[in-house]
Amino acid sequence: MRTFLKTLFPVDIFKGMKLTGTHFAKVFATANRRKVKLHVTEEYPEVPVKLAPRFRGRLTMLKDEQGEIKCVCCLACEKICPTQVITIESGKKEGRKTKIPTRYDFEMERCIFCEFCVESCGFDSIILNHQFELAAYNREDFSIGMLGESQNMFGLTPVGKFSYSDED
C-alpha cells in the first residue's frame, strides 16, 4: 500500500521542485531591493570583474622613480621560465653601474602565467599585472618587447575590448 501511494504521489520529485522554486522565488522577489544580492552570477563584460590582489596576469617590467629600468639582466627569469618565453640581451649605458637590457622579449602566446619569473627576480623589476583580456587578432600582437610602438613591455597591451587596468 505504501509503495503504491509513493508511486501515485511523487513526493521525492516535489521536494526537489520545492527547493528550486524556493531559490527562484527568493531571488526573483528581492531582485533589485537587497543591498547584498542573493544571486551569484555576475554581469561580466558590462561590469568589470573584481580580481584578487594576487591575480596572475600579463608580465610587465617596472621602472624606478627616476624612470630607469630596474632590470639588471641577471637572466634568472629566463632560466626559470618553464616554457622559455623570455629572451634578454644585455648592454651598457653610460652613468649606470649595472647592465641594462637592450632587448627583453616576451612571447605571450606560450606564457602559462605561473609567476616563476617574478618569484626568481631578486630586484623586483618585473610583475604580473592584472590584465587578463589578452585576445588579439594577429599573432604579432602577442610578441611583446621593449622596442617599437605596439610592443609595450611597460604598460598594458592594447588588446581586448573591455580592457581593465590594475587599480589597486
Partner: protein, 366 residues
Amino acid sequence: MFKNEEMEINMGPQHPSTHGVLRLKLKLDGEIITKCTPCIGYLHRGVEKICENKSFFQGQVWTDRMDYTSAIANNLGWAESIEKLFGITVPRRAVYIRTLLNEFNRLASHLIWLATHGLDIGAMTVFIYTFREREAILDIFDAFCGSRLTTTAFRIGGLREDLPPGFEKKVRDFLAKFPDCINEYETLLTENRIWKKRTIGVGILKAEDAIAMGVTGPVLRAAGVPYDIRKAFPYAAYSEMDFEIPTRTEADTYARYQVRLEEMRQSARIIQQCIDGLPEGPVMAKLPKVLRSEVNEVYHPTEAPKGELGYYLVGEKGSLNPYRFHVRAPGFINLQALPMMIEGGLVADVIATIGTLDVVLGEIDR
C-alpha cells in the same frame, strides 16, 4: 528475414558525456553491449617526458595540466615526492595550509563530478547548485595563489607566500554554509526516483574485481574496501586529522554517489580542523639555490580525488632534472575497469558508468 548481426559503433571522441576525448568502440547486439574497447591518447602531450627535461622547480606547471579539475592535488603530490627525494622537511604551517587546500580541491573535484554526472543522466538542476559552491572554492584558490584552475600553488620546501589577509574568514564563511548545500543536493537526487532507477544496480564492480584491476578511490570504497591513502600511508597533515573513510557494499553507481557525498562532508570536517589548528611560523624551508639529485628513487602515493595518484621519480647523480618520471594516474587505471563494468549492459548505462568512474582525459592521456 532478420539477420542476427552485431553492430560496431564509435562513442566519442566528441561525445559530450565522455568527459573529454575518450573514444569507446562498442560492439552491440541489439541494445546489449557485447564488447567495449576504450581508445585513449587523443590528449597526449608527453608530460612525463617533458618533466624529465625540466628542472625540479619547473616541472610543477605540467602537473597542473594533467588532472585539470584537481590541480592542487597534483601539485601536492609533485612537491611532496621531490621533498621526499631530497629529504626536505616542510614547516608545519605550510603542511597545514597544503592539507587545507588539498581538501578544498577534493570538494571542487567532487562538485564538478556531481554536476557532470547529473547532467549526463538528466538531472540538470544539480549542476547549477554545485557550480555555485565550486565558484566559491575557486575564489579561495584565486585569493591564495592568483589562479583558479592552473594553480601552481605550492613550491618545493613549502609555499611561496603565507595566506592572504581575509583568507580565514572566506574559509569559515564557506564552511558555515556548505553542509546545507550538500543537503540540497541530497534533496534533489538521493530520493529522486529517476536518479535511483538510472543508478541502482548499474555498473557493478565487485571488490575482488576492483582490487584485481588496481582500481582505487571512491570506486573501490563503494565496493566495501576501506582503502584510503590518507589513512593507509598518511602524508601532509592527515595523520593529525580526525576523519572517517565512508564505504558502501553495493558497488554500484548509486553507492559511489553516496560515498562521494559522504567524502565531501568528511573533507569539510578536515578543513575545519585545519583552519582551527593552523600553527604559526614560517611557510618555507631553507633550500639550496640549485637542487642536484643523487642516485635515488622515490614513489610517493597521494589520495587524489579520483584515487591513488603516485609519482615515481628517479634521480641521476648531479643532474638538475629527474632521470625518470612516471605518474600513476588514478583515472588511467580506473578506466581499465570500464569494459568489465559495462559489458552485458545497456548502451544507456555506458553514460552513467563513465560518469561514475569520474575520468578526466587530461590525466589519462597525460
